[in-house]
């Protein structure tokens, strides 16, 4: 089955600094990939999804951008972080076969903007 790697696990960044979070997937090819954000104690908000290299769809207007330079790589970026960008960021991809509606998650990155 697929495995999702995310790093770093935690990050503290000052307001106005850039951001780059990386997600890589093993065990599958040409997966749909998703970035979610979770505010403290809340549900998951879909930020971006990608169905292939160079193909990015944004679900909400925001200070962040995403890129998919390779089939199994999905990157979340910002040029200048805001305090409101703090949260728990999760990368996910669907399962295969009968599990294709199930989301498999990376371990997440907890971002604190100070």
């Amino acid at each position: 089955s697929q495995t999702i790697h995310q790093w770093p696990a935690t990050l503290v960044q000052p307001v106005g600094s850039p951001l780059s979070l990386e997600c890589t997937v093993e065990g599958t090819s040409n997966p749909n990939l998703y970035w979610y954000r979770q505010a403290a104690g809340r549900g998951l908000q879909l930020l971006f999804y990608s169905v292939g290299i160079g193909q990015i769809s944004s679900e909400v207007p925001q200070n962040l951008s995403a890129s998919r330079p390779q089939d199994r790589q999905f990157i979340l970026s910002s040029k200048k972080l805001l305090l409101s960008d703090s949260g728990f960021y999760l990368c996910a991809c669907p399962g295969r076969g009968q599990r294709d509606t199930e989301a498999f998650f990376g371990q997440g990155t907890r971002l604190t903007v100070v």
């Binding site: 749909n32 104690g41 509606t101 199930e102 371990q107």
Partner: protein
């Protein structure tokens, strides 16, 4: 717009109590409903439901889908402190090919 609503938003119970968590959904071309448990890190999968009226069970946890009412419940019997977590419900849209998550229920089980 696809929508998933969970209730209650938070719940505090004592060990041994039974709890019922609710989830209602409105998604285009519904395919499945999923429940996840989230502690400190990434959500972990609990159940996937696709058929109405068929209960899925894992230990003290069980869940059922009602496609007529567009809803699902997650039951936890004989709760333990280790059940304390956020429980997330998500519905998969076959049109959008993505999951829409609810805001979660924060369950706290006191000793």
């Amino acid at each position: 717009e696809d929508k998933v609503v969970q209730s209650p938003l938070s719940l505090v119970v004592h060990e041994g109590d039974t709890v019922t968590l609710n989830c209602s959904y409105e998604v285009t071309n519904f395919r499945s409903l999923l429940w996840y448990k989230q502690e400190k890190k990434a959500p972990t999968f609990l159940f996937m439901l696709t058929s109405s009226g068929i209960e899925k069970k894992s230990g003290r946890l069980s869940s059922i889908l009602d496609k007529k009412e567009l809803s699902s419940i997650l039951n936890i019997t004989a709760t333990q402190t280790g059940d304390s977590a956020i429980y997330l419900c998500a519905a998969f849209s076959g049109s959008a090919r993505q999951l829409t998550f609810g805001s979660g229920t924060q369950l706290t089980v006191l000793p």
